[in-house]
Every structure is written in structure tokens, then in C-alpha cells.
């Protein structure tokens, strides 16, 4: 299936309003969808006979400081059909007390569990419904989210000077 066919399929099932934007200019076309519908759409893509996206390759979070949003990009792959599909959701960056929130996919793809924990660790995105959302690479009491573009590292960590 081509990108357009998959898009048509999603629109047929969920209506045209779930698609926020699409970008077909690059090497890999990307479909931006409404973030609240993400688990339903992923489940649909996973279980539908025509698409059967059984493999979630990668979850990438990107901090878009200029636009004031955080983007999350999901690379789906279907092993039997050899299809690729890229979904994208965006959310406001939020602040210390008001983290961006995205529904989790770990119910459908177990692999999303660790990918989402990593995104939480490095970007501070709360994945709603995640069974075990803890930091994964950094210590639990580390301050801030290092891959945000405006990240300032803390001065001392347990008495260790962080910036050298």
C-alpha cells in the first residue's frame, strides 16, 4: 500500500478531522494526526488485514523550540507486506509544572514501553496510561530534560560539579 492509500484508509475509518497535516515532500512521507486518536489509529493499523503494521521500529521525540511544540514520530513497519509508515503527533512544550501529555502505545506494542520511557527521560513527555513511567537512562533524581533545546544542566549533582 502506498502512503496515500493508508491515509485514505485512516480517513475512512476515523473521519477527515483526525488528519492535521501531511508532508510528502521529503524522502519519507509523514502523516500528522490528532494526538488523542493515536492509540485507536495505531490499533487500527496494527489489526487491519490490509495494513498489518506489526513492527514499531522507532519512536523519536523532537523538541521544536521555534514553534513551541514537541513532535513525536512513530515509524511503523509491516513485516509481511514490507510497508513503511510514519505517523507524527505534536503537542505543546509545556513547562516544569505542566508536562506535555501523549497517550501511550505500550498496550499495543510492548516495544513502545522502553521507547516511551526514554522520551520521558530526555524530553519530559508524560505518556498517559504507561504502566511504568520512570527515567531509564538518567538517575531518578536528575533535574531537567537534557534533549530539550533550552536545557540548562544543574550546577551540582550530589556534590559533583556537572559542567566542567
Amino acid at each position: 500500500m502506498t502512503f496515500q492509500e493508508i491515509k485514505e484508509l485512516i480517513i475512512q475509518e476515523f473521519g477527515a478531522e483526525v488528519v492535521e497535516a501531511e508532508n510528502i515532500s521529503g524522502l519519507q512521507p509523514v502523516l500528522t494526526i490528532v494526538k488523542d486518536k493515536l492509540p485507536q489509529i495505531a490499533k487500527f493499523l496494527w489489526s487491519n488485514d490490509k495494513t498489518y503494521f506489526d513492527y514499531l521500529s522507532c519512536i523519536t521525540a523532537i523538541d521544536n523550540l521555534k514553534a513551541g511544540i514537541i513532535e513525536i514520530i512513530y515509524n511503523f513497519y509491516s513485516i509481511p507486506y514490507n510497508h513503511h509508515f510514519t505517523l507524527r503527533v505534536e503537542t505543546l512544550r509545556g513547562d516544569e509544572n505542566n508536562h506535555p501529555k501523549i497517550p501511550t502505545l505500550s498496550e499495543i506494542y510492548k516495544t513502545a514501553n522502553w521507547h516511551e520511557r526514554e522520551a520521558f527521560d530526555l524530553f519530559g513527555i508524560i505518556f498517559e496510561g504507561h504502566p511504568d513511567l520512570r527515567r531509564i537512562l538518567l538517575p531518578a533524581d536528575w533535574e531537567g530534560y537534557p534533549l530539550r533545546k533550552d536545557y540548562k544542566e544543574q550546577e551540582y549533582y550530589h556534590g559533583i560539579k556537572v559542567a566542567y
Binding site: 514499531l56 523519536t60 530526555l122 531509564i136 538517575p139 533524581d141
Partner: protein, 406 residues
């Protein structure tokens, strides 16, 4: 107040705060206890801590804690030009640097639109060194797996054979493990004069050694009893957890990105994809995972032989050949997002790039490492097994922590 003279304020609360166990002692049932395995463990190349909940000899739950090696690959990548990231890519999976480099460079070449314009000799050299490195990586995996089970000889034998590969690769680019050899649009150098002959000699030497190894460890009765029917990973679970590489193939799926994506000159080469068949136990057990790696070594040898034929025949070295001729002065892809993936010895290595188009520094470069994803299945594999089997299971996953932590 911390001053510059005090390096670390030791306090037991600090330790508890920074690396807490997920399970509290009061959550445990009677007879259960928490055992911390690691931070260092011989079956992992690097630092890993496993929080194991045990009930006597039985493992009830395994919670991996990592991040001890965190070297900030992604943060570094946001501050460096594309070509200067290549040495950092080497350090992700330091046992298979060439493979990682190959995938990374391939992605950039696709973004620049020069992937099909490179001379065939460059592509064959890339595949040759990548497959040599795949052999070396599998040797470490198989050899150290022997140690986990309690056999020391295969480790020594395989380290001896791996040393030959490392000498060869050192001859190629001057470094033993971290090569920075494959460049965007070319190579650092051509192969040294005489390399093809010595590599052919090495292959001739290696073939009988592989047979010896198989007799020593793979068909060994004790080894089979320790690994067969242990840590069974069903195929649907493996796919759902995003496992790749030998992990996935041992579960019975013929899925290799070298064939599926057919990148570089792999479609011109003749090789098979070994899969786990459950010869000694069940499909997808520890024995299968190890055996798939052994079979892959044979396939790599096949590929190397074919590359050598090409490199000494149709695409042989000429005076005019310059491996750096196509290397762009400035690597500046158009504004785009791109996900590239390739097959490293551990599985699917992917990079997600975002380029803004007006600088040669990536806006974002995410590494999707196979070990990170493969390790996430460990809790599922080791539930209700024996503690000694847990070691066999960790070893069979073949994790390199440099890649898990990045």
C-alpha cells in the same frame, strides 16, 4: 554547601534517591527477596544492573537498570557536523563499529542523493570490512556466552581468531576497535596493498576453526542441556517487542535487512539467512539464538569470499582510484526528516535524522539501537526460570551496553 574540593557528597540517601529499586521491601511476598545482579556482569559488555526478585532459586521478575555508561550520543550529535559524528557512532556498538558506520553513512548518502553514484569498489570494500566486523562481533558473543555457561576454551579460541580480524582492520585504518573508516561519499583510505591476499589466507585458516568450535561447544552435551529449552521467545512476542537480528531470526522468522532492504551491494551477493529451527529444544530458545550466530558466521565468510573475488577481479585496485574523490566538502542535506535502518550483528540499527537545511549540523539525530530494544524483552524471558538460567538468557541476548545507553 558543596565546594570545588569536595567531589562527591556521600550519603546513603543520595544513593537511594538516584538509583532506587523499583520494588520496595514491603511489597515483597514472604520468601521473596531482591537480588542485585551487577552493575557489572560478565555476560554483558558494559555496565548493567538487574534488580531480580527471587523466590528461592526461582526468578519472579527482572527489572533492568541502566544508564551507567550514558555518553550522550544524541546530545553530542546535535552539536557536531554530520561527518564528525561518525567516531561517536563507532562508540555505540564498539564491537561492531564498521557496521554502525555503514548504516549511518548510508543514511546520509540517501539524504544527499548520492547513494547510487559511488564506485562499486567502495561499496565492496564497505561490505568486506563490515562482514569482517560482523564475524568479530559474533565471535565475542559466542565466546563470552561460553563463559556464562561455564566453558572457558571457546572464549580463548574465539578471541584468538578475533585478534586476526582486528589486526586486519587495524591494518586497514590504523585503529583496533574504533575505526572512523567509512566516510560519507567514500572511504578514509583504499585497502592497503596486499590486504586481499592476507584476508583470503585468513578465511582459509578460519574455516576449519569454525568446525572445531562447533564440535567443542555447540554440539556439546553440557552446553545443550544448559541452553536448550531455556528462555524461549515466541515469534509473536519477539515482533511485538521489536526484537531484531539473531534474536528475531532464532524465533523462526527469515528476516534480514540485508535482504529485505537490499542496500549497498548485498543484492549482488549470494548468502542465506539462517533461522532457528529448534534442533535441540524449542524454536527461539537460548541454544537457537547462539546457533543462529554461528551459522551467520559461515554466511559472513561466504560474503567475504565473494567480495574478495570482486575486489581482485572486476573492481580491482587502480592507480586512479581515489576513495575520497566523492567525499563532499560540506555535508548539508535539504530540510527533511529521514529514518534509515540497516542490519548490524545485533539487529536493526536505525537513525532518525532531522535536517533543517541551512546548516551541516543535524537538528536531531536519534539512534534506535538493537540492543536497547532486545534487552527490553528480558523480563518476559526470565520469568519463573532458575537463577542460573537467567545468566544464560542475558548472555544469549548479546547486549552491548554502549548501545543500550548511548
Amino acid at each position: 554547601m558543596p565546594t570545588d574540593r569536595i567531589q562527591y557528597i556521600y550519603h546513603k540517601d543520595n544513593l537511594q534517591k538516584s538509583e532506587p529499586t523499583r520494588t520496595k521491601p514491603e511489597d515483597l511476598k514472604t520468601e521473596e527477596m531482591i537480588i542485585n545482579l551487577g552493575p557489572q556482569h560478565p555476560s554483558t559488555h558494559g555496565v548493567l544492573r538487574l534488580e531480580v526478585i527471587t523466590d528461592g532459586e526461582f526468578v519472579r521478575e527482572v527489572i533492568p537498570h541502566m544508564g551507567y555508561l550514558h555518553r550522550c550520543f544524541e546530545k553530542h550529535a546535535e552539536n557536531l557536523p554530520y561527518n564528525q559524528i561518525i567516531p561517536f557512532v563507532d562508540r555505540m556498538d564498539y564491537l561492531a563499529s564498521m557496521n554502525s558506520e555503514h548504516v549511518y553513512v548510508m543514511g546520509l548518502e540517501k539524504m544527499l542523493g548520492i547513494e547510487n553514484t559511488l564506485p562499486k569498489r567502495i561499496e565492496y570494500i564497505r561490505v568486506l570490512v563490515a562482514e569482517l566486523n560482523r564475524l568479530a562481533s559474533h565471535f565475542v558473543a559466542i565466546g563470552t556466552y561460553g563463559i556464562d555457561i561455564g566453558a572457558f576454551t571457546p572464549f580463548l579460541w574465539l578471541m584468538r581468531d578475533r585478534e586476526h580480524i582486528q589486526r586486519l582492520l587495524e591494518w586497514v585504518c590504523g585503529a583496533r576497535m574504533l575505526y572512523n573508516y567509512i566516510w560519507v561519499g567514500g572511504l578514509f583510505y583504499d585497502l592497503p596493498v596486499g590486504f586481499e591476499d592476507r584476508c583470503a589466507d585468513f578465511i582459509k585458516y578460519l574455516k576449519p576453526k569454525m568446525k572445531e568450535l562447533e564440535a567443542l561447544v555447540i554440539n556439546n552435551k553440557i552446553f545443550i542441556q544448559r541452553t536448550a529449552n531455556i528462555g524461549i521467545l515466541p515469534l509473536d512476542l519477539a515482533i511485538n517487542y521489536g526484537c531484531s537480528g539473531p534474536m528475531l531470526r532464532a524465533s523462526g522468522l527469515k528476516y534480514d535487512l540485508r535482504k529485505v532492504d537490499a542496500y549497498s551491494v548485498y543484492p549482488e551477493l549470494d548468502f542465506d539467512i539462517p533461522v532457528g529451527k529448534g534442533d535441540m529444544g524449542t524454536v527461539g530458545d537460548c541454544w537457537d539464538r547462539n546457533y543462529v550466530r554461528v551459522l551467520e558466521c559461515y554466511e559472513s565468510i561466504k560474503i567475504i569470499e565473494q567480495c574478495l573475488v570482486q575486489l581482485t577481479g572486476t573492481h580491482k585496485r587502480t592507480r586512479e582510484f581515489d576513495p575520497q574523490a566523492m567525499v563532499p566538502k560540506k555535508i548539508r542535506p535539504k530540510a527533511m526528516d529521514f529514518y534509515v535502518r540497516g542490519e548490524t550483528p545485533k539487529g536493526e540499527l536505525g537513525f532518525y535524522f532531522r535536517s533543517t537545511g541551512n546548516t551541516d549540523i543535524p537538528y536531531r539525530c536519534k539512534g534506535r539501537s538493537p540492543c536497547f530494544v532486545n534487552l527490553s524483552v528480558i523480563n518476559e524471558l526470565s520469568k519463573n526460570t532458575m537463577l542460573a538460567d537467567l545468566i544464560a538468557i542475558i548472555g544469549s541476548i548479546d547486549v552491548v551496553m554502549g548501545e543500550v545507553d548511548r
